[in-house]
Amino acid sequence: MIDAFLHAAIVMTTPILLAAIGGLVNRIGGIVNIGLESMMLGGALIAVMVSAQTGSAGLAILAALVTGAVLGLLMSLVITRLSANEIIVGLGFSVATAGLVRFFLKSVYGVSGTYNPAGVAMLPPIDIPALHAAPVLGAIVSGQDALTWLAWALVPATAFALRRTRWGLRLRATGAAEATVRAVGLAPLTIRDASTVFAGALAGLAGAHLSIGVVGLFNEGISGGRGFIALAAFYFGRSSPWRTALGALLFGGFDAAQIRLQGHWIPAELLQALPYAIVIAVLTGLGLADRRAERSGRMG
């Protein structure tokens, strides 16, 4: 029972974590990515299509990654090159992509909302025989798919890249001091675009995890607001990949609990809204702490 829950919590954390790491990097580069949801949706659909066509989960993942990256690039170009407001562009991308996906399903496959082709190759779970029988730990680490491992590997990798590498420094500088970046001869807008492409690619993978990792078909509601939950996770995490991962884990846990608790104790609708409330609470707490620090700084 507890093992099944823990396993599900990790599974549900993966898409949120992937998109949140992308969104975190994007935000550090200077763009708040409201369009993650649309990139997730695009990735989820393409993954099912390619998987059913080729029978290869690997190709499907690659296609989802490329789809997310292309959507990210398009969104980024409108924001960086045409100085459009990132919030409205992100919302517009979410609306347009949701419409496009439905339009596509209707006009190409003649289905409304759900696409369930035969022969979808699922992402294989990676069993770890040595740990499989171990209580708790076995449920957490054994039987997860490659994208889950990738998501968790990205947490330390991103933390390291942001702090210790030249690219991390350039990215942080682009978000914090664009003029300086330009002054030393780098192209801040290109760096910013690259961060959105990265975010899009990860969101595309997140979509693939949902469609060919969890359910094995595509549904228009498959992303289920997880792009926005990812936004909540990286706001929760501020600029830290580790804290972002904690947020994603928390929200993934809610997601898993929500499926189990449906109809009991707490209504599912309220449980689904909880992550958003937590973000507001966290932001309030941070705001209070900042102000207190400011005050004591002034007195000292």
Binding site: A96, A98, G99, L283
Partner: protein, 343 residues
């Protein structure tokens, strides 16, 4: 005279450009799917504006957008990026619907006043929090208001699936409102209702307020130059909180008018994103009242035409969503740069 008009004309063209871009993208999508874009667009224009009934349908569809556009414009004008009208719309709609089915014996004016007033109150209170958080603690209002949308949708869908579910109804809907709580129709048999007139009047009132009153001037000053505003003795924080509350109240009112005028109950999925379309409308209109009216009618035509083109031409109705989304994407884009770069 002509010279004085020129910047206005340029402004108008600038605001039209996102529509042109969206139509171009829509044309590519339609063409790829094997439809003839031009004939689809011609059909959409006919369905949106051809004849009294169709115009009435367009105006009905533009009614919620007038107010969500207004809610956004009020906020943006003072530099408050409120994206929370969607949540207020849900809460306002539910509040009005509950009052609308609970007091069948009251006089109509009283129940309508109570429904609209309570919805505005709830909407305003809903955004008081983000207003205070931004003013006192500097918490980004984009994030808080965006998050509050999901919370409002969660709360209302819980209520409409549980405590407020109409007896005998399988899907999420409250009981229908009583006859005394419905906003009267303006042009029967069309669905155009008094809510359109109320919404239009409010947008016009906003235009007058913004242009001719001290309050309107102050609000714009806070938006354009908060430091100067502070220097001349305006407290930007106070304006900010008030703006957020008023914007939320208008969002709540929009939901109430939608419930009492058109839907006549509250249902799950009450808004197909009116609050977000309102953001695009305000940005396209650059917060001007006239712009809000024109953009609302265009978006209204789009959605009312979309419903009928699906009937007549088997073009999936989602083309409307694609066009709307594309307009949003380009709403604030400086499209002139495309040419400057090429040239």
């Amino acid at each position: 005279m002509m010279r004085a008009l020129r910047p206005r004309v340029a402004d108008g063209l600038g605001a039209a450009a996102p529509f042109v871009f969206a139509l171009a993208i829509g044309a590519v999508v339609l063409f790829a799917a094997g439809f003839e874009p031009l004939s689809v667009y011609r059909l959409m224009i006919e369905e949106g504006f051809g004849g009294e009934r169709r115009i009435a349908a367009t105006l009905t569809a533009s009614t919620p957008l007038l107010l969500t556009g207004l809610a956004a414009a009020i906020a943006f004008r003072s530099g408050v990026f409120n994206v929370g009208a969607e949540g207020c719309f849900y809460l306002g709609g539910l509040t009005a619907a509950v009052i609308g089915f609970s007091a069948p014996s009251w006089p109509s004016a009283l129940v309508l006043g109570a429904g609209l007033g309570a919805a505005a109150l709830i909407g305003g209170l809903w955004l008081l929090g983000p207003g205070l958080l931004r003013a006192r603690l500097g918490v980004d209002e984009v994030v808080t208001t965006l998050m509050l949308n999901f919370i409002a949708v969660g709360i209302t869908s819980w209520l409409v699936n549980g405590p407020l579910l109409a007896r005998g109804s399988a899907n999420s809907a409250t009981p229908a409102i009583a006859l005394n709580a419905t906003l009267p129709r303006l042009l029967p048999p069309t669905t155009l209702h008094l809510g359109f007139a109320i919404s239009l009047a409010l947008v016009i009132a906003y235009g007058v307020w913004g242009r001719f009153t001290v309050g309107g001037f102050r609000s714009r000053l806070v938006g354009t130059n908060p430091r100067f505003a502070r220097a001349v003795g305006i407290e930007p924080e106070r304006v900010l909180v008030a703006t957020m509350v008023v914007s939320g109240a208008v969002g709540g009112l929009a939901g109430a008018i939608h419930a009492l005028g058109l839907v006549h109950r509250f249902v799950g999925g009450f808004s197909p994103g009116y609050g977000f379309t309102g953001i695009a409308i305000a940005l396209l209109a650059r917060n001007s009242a006239l712009g809000v009216i024109v953009a609302s009618i265009l978006f209204g035509a789009l959605s009312s035409a979309g419903a009928s083109i699906q009937l007549f031409s088997n073009v999936p109705i989602e083309i409307v969503q694609i066009l709307q989304g594309a307009v949003m994407v380009f709403a604030t884009a400086k499209l002139g740069r495309l040419w400057r770069r090429a040239g």
